[in-house]
Every structure is written in structure tokens, then in C-alpha cells.
Symmetry: C2
């Protein structure tokens, strides 16, 4: 039997581990080993295995320490040798970091200790080396605090208690009358060290361990223990990480960039994280710690000479001043720069992805502290992937899998120019309900929006909340701002559908419709004042800000073509107008998955005819009004069919409850009464009788068509007649008529028979035919449960996951704002189920509905038309379930196309 190996050394281009040993060494340990192996200089150290962690839980601390002792001693010696330093030395003290590192990244969940090895001797050694007494004592007091908190357990376990070290610092600052830690001098910090140690003694009954070895053992076991702290366990539960994996412990020499003018520290990117251009870039500071680079106290300098010159030009600094005050690393330390340049190239080639690098130069020696895949903008994400594909670094599938589809959003909406943002004043914050940037003059009413827009004014429609009556105003506004409502409020949903910028639920706004003002934090804005909205961040900004339209670069087109090569699902769009249809088609939509007919009923004369129908006494009266609506609907459909020439168009029959169409204000009621020549009392009575306690679960969807069959008849006629008319003109038309809110086969059959009889009648009248399908939304749990029956007659299914989520959870989208945010905060829900499809619950019904439907009708066409159709995780789920297509708002079509391709590759 071979002895179990528990400790793996690395340093100086050698390592006992390698990248493939992630399970045993954890992600960080394997990475550190690998960097050594490819010749990147990293501070030497060693990794204690994840197996040792598991062993620890079984045999306990004492036994494991015995098993580890010899190996750990040898390993520290190895580090001392490579660094030429010693633990606890007052000349050349070795300080180390002790970090956790599991197989899967668990950021922030487990503990880290820095500067370990610090004691009264070592602090002297540091002072000698750095000539910086304050830094040395600050490092020392930080170490005592960190060690006291993490290893010795002084960190309070609940929020009401205070950290004893913070209490001491606050006391000292109060005594000295200073506000900032930075105002404490080295004497103060020295005193803090002794006060901290006293606090440890008071709290634990033991002296603070001065022996670096004692410190080290304490830290190793503290890291192991942190594997089983509450937040780590919880994190693993919700992320599905097995508890038996364990964590490794990484012990590594500390290096310092502040040991004089031959020391430095910096960060760098192998390519431009904003634009994706293949330009090595980054910043550094001489004689500084890592945190100084980001703290903004000193101005960081550019790494490359070219970058430095560009920076100076932007900042308005002359070449002379630049070269004198802000020289690049390329200029100040050309050899180190050359080494760094080669290393970054090597790292990128090795990782085959853009790298974000941290480095420290300690007394002329370059150390890499970390390399990881760099964060990037959506623009950079696309460019880098396509460039690397062209460079042969990655293959097509990898290029696609590198995408975060949601980031494409940036490429698809207008943005504020950087210059404009620099001087902008944020006056309020709401939810980023629909991305993009918009600037315009405030109006408070939808008809004002229309009137102003006709005069070529740019307007922002500001409402407490929106309703379907505001639709036309929303359509002409540049952006929409509401004081109430969540990410799935009417305003948000409609705006996303329109691809229009929207900030919703900006709770600080006090809107006074009467005075036509909006007040925020005491400042009042009137109708006509200019504001700007950032729908991607939720910011409301004062004044008129310049926006710029997105430029879809060549790389973007390349990538979308690649996506189409690998995808198995079609992507359609939710579109109610020819214009929406055109936009979506340009974005690559192959059909309409949801055309809502109700939006067509709000325009001028239409709403009048609609109201006349609702207020009619009997079928005859309703038919008379419907006859007026027929030609309007028909011409709408003609426009949409023409825009989607060659692709299928799914049209949903009337869905919302009738009360959404009638006027609720007395004046409007009087007006309609006068127009129709009926008593205003009767109008009021009818409107009141339409009131519902839970309209979501009320008289809507096919319940309308089944109680008033003449409505379905009119809509079916409009669709079929429109299809025949455009077909005559050579347009290829594929109408799919969709019955909403079906819960039983009988409901569907009644609607289907009305549709088919009407179609036959139109065929007879015109002597022309068109192919069409009749199918249904699956949006009621009962429909999914009885999908085998419904598929006997339905020719296609489209999952309406908005309503399906509402009913499966019992959440009203309009009301969930009162508890959903709390649920997310308390981790009772991982995601807002209206944004990310709940695969565990709602997903069961989607899967069940698909399977059962296809058990009856194997070639059943299945798609999704809820908001989830444009959400990448949900799109992947749809692919797994075997859907034929997803449908989403026009501006999310490219995102869905990418997500579908990625799902197919996975």
C-alpha cells in the first residue's frame, strides 16, 4: 500500500499537481500548479488535498494534524528555500496566505487568512525591508484582526453583536478625533496590535499565538472548518454541490509590491474588455499594494507605451508630462514588461480566452498572483469570440458556448454616450424594466403623448402605472417611467415587447396628474421638462442626454450565422404589428409565435366599436358592432401576414376580460352613452357588472369566445379573409389560429368548430382556400394535465408560461410585488419565476404537456410564447423538452437564437 499523498508542492516552474487534478487539489490549487508547469512565476506554496478535508471530518483534528505534520513542515521549508526567507525571521520574514479552494467556485463562502507568520519579530523584518513602518504595523494589526475573527472565533455570529476589534478601532478614532483608518499613524497601529491581542486574551482566555507554526495549523483547520459553516452549506444546497467534495487548503508565500522603487503591482487584460480589440492593456503603480491600484488615491499608470499615450491624449496631458509623471511599465521596467508581455500571451494561449491578470513586482522580480477569464462587455464578448475563432484558438462550438446571451442586450438598444453620462444627475432609481436609453419631455397622459409626438416632440410618458388604455401613448413615447409596478407590470411587459426603454416602480416619484407634475426628493418637474431614462440600470436622469444607436458589427452577424448552423429550435417573435414583425425579422425571427389581437382594439374608432359590442343587449347588437371591427382586424392581419411572408403567424384570439375595454371614468361613460344613444346609467351598470374580484381567473380567454361565439366568428373570418387576400398577391401565408386559456377539450372543440365552419364559409364565398392550423395556448395547469385529450383536436400547442406560472404558483403578476422581493431576499425563491422559468414546478407541467400532447399526436408542433421564450436558461429548458420553437419579443430574438444554439451544442 502506498502512503496517501496529502500535500502537493508548487513553485519555481515545478509542481506536483496539474490542471487535471481539480478534484483533489480544488480549482485554485490545480490552477497554481498548472501556472508553474507552463513556466509562469507564481509565489511558491503548497496545497493540502480535499481528501484530507474529508479525512478531517472522520478522524478529527488531532489525528489529521499528526498525519500532516511532516509533510507540512517539509512544504514550508520548500517555500522558505525558494523565497530565501524564514518563518518569524526579523530580517527576512516569510509571510504566507492561507486560502480555501474547492472543486467548484464558492466565492466568499469560506475563509482566507493573509499575512500569516506575522509577529513581533517579523514586523521588524518587514520594516527593514520596506522602510515603511506604517505598512508593517498595519499589516500586523490586520493579521491579528483577521486571525482573531476567523480562526479564534471572535467574529460575532449574529448581527446585533459588534466585532470587538471594530469596537477598539472606533474607540481609538474617537479618542484621536479622526474619522478615517488612514489617519491613524504607525504608533496608533502598533498600539492597536497590543489592544487586539488583549481582546483575544479576554475573549478566549488564551494568548494570541505568536508562533507562526501555531498560526499556520490554526489557519489550516479554520479553512477546513469553514467548509461546514452555515453559509457554505446553504450555498452548496442551492447550487447542488455535494457536501462530500470537501475543500483544499492553499498556503502560498506573500509577495509585496511596496518594497521600494523596484517593486510594483498591477492588473492587466490580454485584450480590451470594453471593445474586445486584441490589445494588451492594464494599469500599475510603483511601490504600491494591490489595493492602491483600485483605491483611486494615486493615479494608476498604463502598462504599455501605446496605451499610455492614448490615455494621456484623452486626459489632455502632454507627452512631456506623461513621460515624466506617468511613464508606462514598458518604459520604467522594460525587462519586466517584456516578461509580463510574454506571460500574458502564454496565459491567453493556454486558457484560450481573454485573461484578467494580477501581478506584483517585488524587488524587480515579477510574480503572477492570479489569472482568470476576464469579464467583458457584450460588444467585447462577441468580438473576442469571433476573433479567437479566426485565430484558430477556439472552434465554432466553443465560440458559441462562450456567449452569455443576455449580454447581447447591449448590442440591441440605444445607449447614452459616455460624455453625456459623465455630467448626468441621477434623480431617482426604479427597476430596469426594459433596456435601452431614452430622452424626452415629460408628459403624463397617453393622449398628450400622441399629440406631442405628432408635433415631432420626443416624449417620456410618466404614469403612476399604465393600463391598456395607455398603449398608443406608450407606442409613440421614447420611454416609459412608472412609479408603481414590478419587472412584469403592464408597463414593463408591454415596453419589452415594443423594445422600448422603460423604468418601472420608481417608488420615490410622487406624481400629481391634476397639477401635471412629478416630485422627487422635494424637487418638482413639470410637464415638458426634459428627463432621460436608462432602462438597463433603472436610472432616471435630469435633462436631455445624448443617445447613440447601436451598431451591429460584422462579428455579431458572423456569430448569429454560426448559431443558426447549430440550433435545432426555431426562434419566432411575439409581435402585434407589421412594424414589430419587420424588426423581429431583421433580427432573424422565423415567424410570429404570438400575435395578440386585443391590442388592435384600442385605436380610435376601434375602441368605440368594441365598446358598442360590449354594451350591446343581445347577439344581434354585438354582431352589428363586430361587423364594424371586421374590416379593421382584416387589414391588420393583412399587414402582418405580408411582413412575415413565408413564415408562420400564430394569432391568438381575444384574451383579456372585457372590462379592460370599457371606460371607468364618468365623463368617458357619458360620452359613450351619448354616442350610442343609450342611458348613461345603463353604461355604468354594464361597466360595474364587468367588475371582477380576480380578473386573472375570470371571464376571459376562450371563455369569451365560448359565451359570445360571434366574437370568435368575426376574428376567424378576419384572419381567413386576410390570408386569402394577401395570398392572391403572391404572399406565402401560414396562419395558425390559437385559442387562449383552454382548460378542457370541450372548450377547445367548441372554438375549433366555430373557426373551421367560418373558414369553410369564407372558402365557399371566395372560391379560394388557404392552409391554416387551429391550436391552443397551454397556460392553465389543467390543460397541461389533460394535454393528451386536448391534442386529439389541437394541431399545435404554445405554452403561455406567464399565465401558467401565475396559476401554478398561485401568484398574481400584478400583485406579487408585495412579497416576491422579500421571498428573493430570504432565499425562499432562487429566481423571480416570471423572469426565469421555474423548471422544478412549472417546468413539470411544460414537460408533461409536451409529452402527453405528443402521445396523442406525435407530430404536434410545440412552442413557448411567454416572457421566458427570450430568457436563456428557459430557452435551454425548452430545447431539452423538445420544443419546435421559442417565441419572444423582437429585441430578444438574437438572444434566444444564441441560447437555442448553445442548448443544442450542450
Amino acid at each position: 500500500m502506498t502512503e496517501t499523498k496529502r500535500v502537493y508542492l508548487f513553485g519555481n516552474g515545478h509542481a506536483e499537481g496539474k490542471a487535471e487534478m481539480k478534484n483533489l487539489l480544488g480549482g485554485k490549487g490545480a490552477n497554481l500548479a498548472e501556472m508553474n508547469l507552463i513556466g509562469v512565476p507564481v509565489p511558491p506554496g503548497f496545497t493540502i488535498t480535499t481528501d484530507a478535508c474529508i479525512e478531517y471530518t472522520k478522524i478529527g483534528r488531532e489525528k489529521l494534524r499528526q498525519l500532516l505534520t511532516d509533510d507540512v513542515k517539509a512544504a514550508v521549508k520548500h517555500v522558505e528555500n525558494l523565497m530565501g526567507m524564514q518563518f518569524g525571521s526579523n530580517e527576512n520574514p516569510l509571510l504566507v496566505s492561507v486560502r480555501s479552494g474547492a472543486r467548484a467556485s464558492m466565492p466568499g463562502m469560506m475563509d482566507t487568512i493573509l499575512n500569516l507568520g506575522m509577529n513581533d519579530n517579523a514586523v521588524q523584518g518587514i520594516i527593514k525591508k520596506t522602510h515603511n513602518e506604517r505598512f508593517a504595523w498595519d499589516s500586523y494589526r490586520r493579521f491579528v484582526q483577521m486571525y482573531g475573527d476567523v480562526v479564534l472565533g471572535l467574529k460575532p455570529q449574529n448581527k446585533e453583536e459588534e466585532d470587538p476589534f471594530e469596537v477598539i478601532i472606533d474607540q481609538m478614532k474617537a479618542e484621536k478625533g479622526v474619522k478615517n483608518d488612514l489617519e491613524l499613524n504607525s504608533e496608533d497601529l502598533k498600539k492597536l496590535v497590543s489592544l487586539f491581542k488583549k481582546a483575544v486574551k479576554d475573549n478566549t482566555g488564551h494568548d494570541f499565538p505568536d508562533d507562526p507554526w501555531e498560526q499556520l495549523w490554526g489557519a489550516i483547520f479554520a479553512v477546513f472548518d469553514s467548509w461546514n459553516n452555515d453559509r457554505a452549506i446553504y450555498y452548496r444546497q442551492i447550487n447542488g454541490i455535494p457536501h462530500e467534495w470537501g475543500t483544499a487548503v492553499n498556503v502560498q508565500a506573500m509577495v509585496f509590491g511596496n518594497m521600494g522603487d523596484t517593486s510594483a503591482t498591477g492588473v492587466a487584460f490580454t485584450r480590451d474588455a470594453a471593445t474586445g480589440e486584441k490589445i494588451f492593456n492594464g494599469e500599475y503603480l510603483i511601490n504600491a499594494q494591490g489595493e492602491d491600484v483600485v483605491a483611486g488615491i494615486r493615479t494608476p499608470q498604463q502598462i504599455t507605451k501605446e496605451g499610455s499615450k492614448r490615455w494621456a491624449k484623452l486626459a489632455g496631458i502632454s507627452e512631456e508630462e506623461r513621460a515624466a509623471k506617468y511613464p508606462s511599465l514598458e518604459e520604467t521596467m522594460p525587462d519586466v514588461y517584456k516578461e509580463l508581455y510574454e506571460i500574458q500571451h502564454k496565459l491567453e494561449q493556454h486558457a484560450r480566452d481573454m485573461q484578467d491578470i494580477e501581478f506584483t513586482i517585488q524587488e524587480g522580480k515579477l510574480w503572477l498572483l492570479q489569472t482568470r477569464n476576464g469579464k467583458r462587455t457584450g460588444f467585447a464578448m462577441v468580438k473576442i469570440a469571433v476573433d479567437m475563432l479566426n485565430e484558430g484558438l477556439i472552434d465554432e462550438k466553443t465560440a458559441l458556448l462562450r456567449m452569455e446571451p443576455n449580454k447581447l442586450d447591449e448590442l440591441l438598444h440605444p445607449v447614452f454616450s459616455k460624455a453625456a453620462l459623465a455630467n448626468a444627475n441621477v434623480i431617482a432609481k426604479g427597476l430596469p424594466a426594459s433596456p435601452g436609453a431614452a430622452t424626452g419631455q415629460i408628459v403624463f397622459f397617453a393622449d398628450d403623448a400622441e399629440a406631442w409626438a405628432k408635433q415631432d416632440k420626443q416624449v417620456i410618458l410618466v404614469r403612476i402605472e399604465t393600463s391598456p388604455e395607455d398603449l398608443r401613448g406608450m407606442n409613440v413615447a421614447k420611454g416609459i417611467l412608472t412609479a408603481r409596478g414590478g419587472m412584469t407590470s403592464h408597463a414593463a411587459v408591454v415596453a419589452r415587447g415594443m423594445g422600448k426603454c422603460c423604468v418601472s416602480g420608481a417608488g420615490n416619484l410622487v406624481i400629481n396628474y391634476k397639477a401635471r407634475t412629478m416630485t422627487v426628493d422635494g424637487k418638482t418637474y413639470k410637464e415638458g421638462d426634459w428627463i432621460s431614462l436608462n432602462g438597463s440600470t433603472g436610472q432616471v436622469l435630469e435633462g436631455k442626454l445624448e443617445t447613440q444607436d447601436p451598431e451591429l458589427s460584422g462579428e455579431f452577424a458572423t456569430l448569429m450565422a454560426l448559431a443558426d448552423k447549430y440550433t435545432k429550435m426555431k426562434v419566432r417573435t411575439n409581435a402585434d404589428t407589421p412594424n414589430d414583425a419587420k424588426v423581429a425579422r431583421n433580427f432573424g425571427a422565423e415567424g410570429i409565435g404570438l400575435c395578440r389581437t386585443e391590442h388592435m382594439f384600442f385605436d380610435g374608432n376601434r375602441i368605440k366599436a368594441m365598446r358598442e359590442m360590449i354594451l350591446a343587449d343581445d347577439e344581434t347588437g354585438r354582431r352589428k358592432a363586430l361587423d364594424k371591427l371586421l374590416p379593421m382586424q382584416r387589414s391588420d392581419f393583412e399587414g402582418i401576414f405580408t411582413a412575415m411572408d413565408g413564415f408562420p403567424v400564430t394569432i391568438r384570439l381575444l384574451d383579456p376580460p372585457l372590462h379592460e375595454f370599457v371606460p371607468h371614468e364618468e365623463a368617458a361613460q357619458a360620452e359613450i352613452a351619448k354616442e350610442l344613444g343609450i342611458d348613461v346609467k345603463k353604461v355604468k351598470e354594464r361597466v360595474d357588472s364587468l367588475h371582477e374580484f380576480n380578473p386573472m381567473l375570470g371571464h376571459r380567454g376562450c371563455r369569451l369566445g365560448n359565451t359570445y361565439p360571434e366574437i370568435t366568428e368575426m376574428q376567424a373570418r378576419a384572419i381567413i379573409e386576410a390570408a386569402i387576400n394577401v395570398q392572391k398577391k403572391g404572399v406565402k401565408v401560414l396562419p395558425e389560429i390559437m385559442v387562449p386559456l383552454v382548460g378542457t377539450l370541450a372548450e377547445f372543440k367548441l372554438q375549433e368548430s366555430i373557426i373551421r365552419e367560418t373558414a369553410e364559409a369564407v372558402f365557399k364565398e371566395t372560391g379560394q382556400k388557404v392552409d391554416y392550423l387551429v391550436g391552443t395556448m397551454i397556460e392553465i395547469p389543467r390543460a397541461a394535465l389533460t394535454a393528451d385529450q386536448i391534442a386529439e383536436n389541437a394541431e399545435f400547442f404554445s405554452f403561455g408560461t406567464n399565465d401558467l406560472t401565475q396559476m401554478t404558483f398561485g401568484y398574481s403578476r400584478d400583485d406579487a410585488g408585495t412579497f416576491l422581493p422579500i421571498y428573493l431576499k430570504k432565499n425562499l425563491l432562487k429566481n423571480d419565476p416570471f423572469q426565469v422559468l421555474d423548471q422544478e414546478g412549472v417546468g413539470q407541467l411544460v414537460e408533461m404537456g409536451t409529452k402527453r400532447g405528443r402521445s396523442t399526436r406525435p407530430n404536434l408542433k410545440v412552442g413557448i410564447c411567454g416572457e421566458h421564450g427570450g430568457e436563456p436558461n428557459s430557452v435551454e429548458f425548452c430545447h431539452r423538452v423538445g420544443m419546435n420553437y421559442v417565441s419572444c419579443s423582437p429585441y430578444r430574438v438574437p438572444i434566444a437564437r444564441l441560447a437555442a444554439a448553445m442548448a443544442a451544442i450542450r
Copy 2:
């Protein structure tokens, strides 16, 4: 190969078929054969088999007619011989009926032809025999009309066309200036026959067939054809009857009770259908047709002498007059009576159930036309079953299976006395929302109801609709009447829970709260006027009617004891007060399955404390108010635990949205503001902020307890403290704490941890312990779908099928009134899913939830507490699913007990 037998003869005590041959001969054919075999005189005839019907669909009319010709000829000869009559004779004509008869009863779905064989000869024969020219011609014209409609296809196929025969009759009546068919004389009828025949000729191009044989063949095939008419196919579809069963054809001699004074006709019951007493009874008329007995033109006479005397006494007729004018059959035809008496006894013994018999005496000869199990009241149902059990006619299981559990309702509620009803004036009709009878003075407001009740007045609470604020008024009222709302409206559900009479949705009522009046059909009733309600029929009656309390007879108790012997499920009750609990316990409830705590928050000071909590700014404020509620809740629970000593009590934590507790009227808002010393504006704002678009899917159930944990804490404390207090007094207490509206395991776990921590705290404080369970309602589809997860922590499940039905169908109970009635009428739904559990859809979730729950926790206790828990079909479903118990309103407990026993036996 033996020849297939297609025609089965019967008559004169012989038959080729028997009862067991139902598949081949149909229900009616097998029955007619059996009656012959046991020696009951039925008019002779023959049955053509169901196989022949199927053969017909395959080989067609001509071929089948060839195959049948010899057999049918022989069979008609057989009937002629037994009756001594001939087809088409002008002396002694044989007339026959031709009827369908399938394996399963399909009432009214297929066709029947009477008086077949009638022609110009036969009508003369009938006149000679009956001396009743009018009857003879009327029979003739009826035959021509029936034959023309059914066999010759003159009956119009859609509602817009008119029956040509009715057109002719209307024309004749118009010409003669009469309104009623009865005013046409024999000459008129004779003329009608010829006009009808002309209409046949005009419509079909053929003469009406005078040859009885032609008539017969036409009728036989018309009956076969009717198996495949649209309504029969539809009936089979919705009742699951296979299309390949086919129907038999029964041809039987017609007999007449109007052939002079030795002829008669009548109906009889082997026991009293109202009381169940074992008394042979019935009515007859000499020289009359069957329909005369029920038509009410002549006063029918009693069959037995004893019955006749009793009848005379009630009608105030002297014995002399009775004997002279209304003698019994026992007196007028003693021999026939004796024969009838023996036959009825024989039939009951043979059927082992109370029989409803139709008979005709033709010239002194008794013929039985029909026997079937008699319809009976709930009282009679119970008494007959127990009597027959005691008589040894049936066994215990049969006695139980004879029950229609819903009929027990009659035995469990007050009823109007017959005398009172006789003179009552029905002023309106609503839905029979909660059974029973109630009489009282009209009040329109809940607080008036309370005030009047305190003065010992009987009141009927009349509201447009009720809300939880009316609860106390409803509780003291004798009955509740609403103008709006369905069978599952607030008023209906609460009233059924209270066992209180309620008529809901009486749409004709115009209620004016301001004037305190109710107007119906122009008549106005004021506050204080007396009205009466029949909650079993939905009638609203004028004035004060006498009611009588139910008497639970000894047989009822016997039957319930029998039920308990066979049942496998427990029956619990839904009860919110000690009084409800006591009532239910008396009815045999073994525990409480649903105790709703919210009803406890409406009383005087409680609602104030509740409002204070809702209006509080923060947790501290809420806790202060909750502290006031704690002792009140605790004492409620003490009362309920004590009343249910020894049985489990399931308590549901707060469920409804908070806006149900706050005042919506300005005056009430001002009052509460004053009391709490806060600004009325703030009250209004808070109330407004609680408004929800779909409160059903809003901030309620455990969403309250998870956002305001202090509410759960208070309720858990009240329950545990109450349990400990009563346990000290020797009460055996089994609290089951139920978390409502759970959709995810995480939600349940958070509530459970609050409950268990609170319980532990109380145990520590008091030094006492009680056993308790923590479980959940399964009422959200997602909970059923993820029941395996939820059962990891939940110790019991109770299916809340009211809400589960709402969400699975997407129907709001409060709003479904706008489309559900239309859906039922159009057969889009078989039942109101809120009354009868939808086993096909909602039932899948119930079954899934139960199975998945038990896959995690095999001994999981599962019950139901929706309205369906007291509905017999649903109870049977619960048994099949394997539930441990059902829970229902107190007054339905016996019904559920019976249904549960029946399910276990089946």
C-alpha cells in the same frame, strides 16, 4: 353451425330470455322476459336483439330484413294468438308499441312508437271496443304524427323549423277559435288524420303506410337508426357507453284501461315513498288512460281501502261520500286487487327493493306495464333500507349501497311544515346555496342582525353580497339571502359551514341599502318585514312560515353505525368554533380537519387589534398589537380543543389577504385613525396599498407568515399554550398546525422553523409538553407537483381543493358566475367543479400529491378539507386515492360518513 337467434318471445308466463341476458336483449327486454318468468302478467311481445342492431350497421337494412322476416312474422302471430287480436282487424285490432332498449339506460335518447297497427280498419275496431270515438281518432292521429315524425323523418332537425303536424293543429285551433287540444272533437281529429296523411305525402312523396306490417318494419329500423342519432352518440360519449353495444327493439301489445267500466289504469308503490313505511299504496282510475291519472282532470282513487279512508279523512270527505264516489280498487275489483297485491309483493321480493308499478286493467284482465325501483325521499330511503335489512331481504352492504348520501340532507335540516307551504307565496328564486328552512324579519346590515338578535328577534340577513365583515351578523341570522353570488360565493360557503339556510344569487332582488328596502317584481319589502327561505330549493317566500326541526329516527342511527363498520376513512369536520365542533361531533365527526383562524379576528376588540397590527409601521408595532390578540386566540383554541377532546384538531394559520380586515369606508377609517392616534391619511394610504388586482393570487396564506413571521409566532404560541392549558385539565389534545398556501419546500420550512422554535420556547417556559404535528395545505398546483420535496418536512397534507380547483382551472370562484352557468348549459363542463371534484384534472394533482408525498414519507397523513370533502362522488375519489380522512362542514358529516362507507364497500 347453429342459426343465430335474433328474436326472443315473451308472454303468458313464458319467455325465451331472462334477466341475465341484458347484454343481448337490453335492459327493458331482459326485464320483460323476467317478469313473465316470475308469473307477472305483462302484455305479450318480443325483443329483437342488440346483436341484430350491430348486424344492421354492417349488412344494411334489406339484408337484415330478409334475415328477420320469418321470425318477426312468427312473433307477431304469437302476440295475436295470446291477445286474441289481429293486426289491422276492424273487430279486434292488435296495436303494438315499438321501443328501444339498450344495455344501459339512455332515457329519452332514442325513439318510441305507440299505437302501431292503427289504420282506417283498426280505428273502427277500437271504436267498437271502447265506445269512445274521440279516443279512437285521437289515438290514430297521435300515431300518424309520431310515425311521421320519427319513422318518416318529418320532425325538423333544427329549432328554427316547425313541426308540420303542429302547424296543422295550430291552424285548426285557430279556425275553430279554441286554445286547447282537448277542445277538438272526434270529427276534428278525424279530419286531422287525413290532413296529417296529406302532409306526409306532400313532404315525402309517398302515401302514409296503412299496412301494419309496413308500419312495423319502418318502426323497427327507425329504432335501430336512433342508436346513431346525434344526441344518442353524444350521450354515450359523455357517459362512457361503447358505441358497439347497440340497442334492442321491443315490440309489445298495447293494452287499454279505457275500454269501459271493467277497465282501469293506475300506479302503485310497494312501500310509502315519503315515509318509507311498509304500506302498499297507490292510485287508479276506472275507464281511463295512464295519463289521466297524473293529468289532474279526474280525482284519482286510492288502491287500498285503508289508504282510501285515510285519504278521505285528510280531504274532509265523509265515509259515505267516499264509498260512493271514490271507492278503492280493493272494493270495486276485489279479485283484481288481490292479484295486484300478490304481484306487488312478488315484485318487491324479486327486486329486493321498493317498486314503483304501472298497471292497466283491460276488460277485467290485469296487465303490469312497468316495474322499477321507486323514487323516495331521504327519510324513506333510510327507513326502507333498514327495514329490508331487518326483513332479511338485503344484507348490510346492500343496505349501505342503496343510499344516495346527498338525500340525507333532508334529515339534517329544519323544514317547512306541509301546511305552511300549502299557502305560501313564492316571491323570488335564487340558488339553493345551503339547505334548510328559515323564517325571520328582514335586516340589511350585519350589526342590525346582531342588535335585533339580542332582542330575541328572528332575522333574515339580506345583502347584495356578503363579505367577512358580515360574519357575526350571518352567525346570528336564521338565514341569509343575497342578490349576487353563486353556489360558492362567500355567503354560500360560510352558510354551509355554519349549517345555516342560505339562498344566494336571487338576481331579481333590487336591494336599496339606503332606503333599507328590497324590491321584487315591483313589490317592496321593508326592514322588519317577514320572509322565509327554503335553502334546499332556492325559494324565497313571503311572510312567516312555520318550520319544524328534523327528527333523526332510529333507522338513521342504525345506518350510520353500519357505515362506521365498513368505512376505511375517518370523517372530520371544518369547524371554527366550539359550537360547530360540538354539532359535528354529534353527527359523528372524529376530529377537526380545518379550523380557520381568521374568523376569530373579526369580533369586537379583535378586529381593532388586528387593524392596529396591519397599520403598524414596523415589527415592534405589529408585535404590540399581536400581543393583544394572543390571549383571545388562545382562549378560542382552548374551547375548540375541549370540545374535540380525544380527537385531532387541524388549525390553519392566517390565510386571507390583510385587506379583508381593514375598513374601506371613510368613516370607519377616520374612527380607527382616531383610536390609534394616527393620521387618517395614513390609514387611507395603507388601506389603498393593500389593494390587489387578484387578491386570490396575492399576498396571503404563508406569504403573510413568511413576510411577517411574528404573526405565525403569535398563532403558534396561542395554539401550544392553549393545548398545554387544557391538557392540564385532563383533556386529550392533538393539535395539527397547518401552513396554508405552500408552493415550495422552502416556504414550508421557514414556517415550520418558526412554529417549532415557538413551541420549544413555550415548553421551556411552562415546563410542559404536548405532541403536535406541523403539516400543510396542498392547494397550489406547484405544491402537488413537488409534494415529494414538501413531504420531507411536512407531517401531514390536507388538500384544499377549493383553491386547488381555482388555480388548476384558472377559475375565480367569485367571478365564475359569469360563465360557469353557460358552460354547464352548453355541456362544456359536466359539473360545477367547485361542487363535484374534477377527477380528470384536479384529481390528477390530488393523486400525484398523495403518491409523491408518500414516496418520501410513507406514513404521511393525507386528508381533504375543501368543499368536496362532503360531496359523495368526491369522497369516493378520496377513498380510492388512499386518503386517511375527509373533512366537511358539520351538517354534511353524516353524508360523508355514508359515502366513505359506500366507497369502501365498492
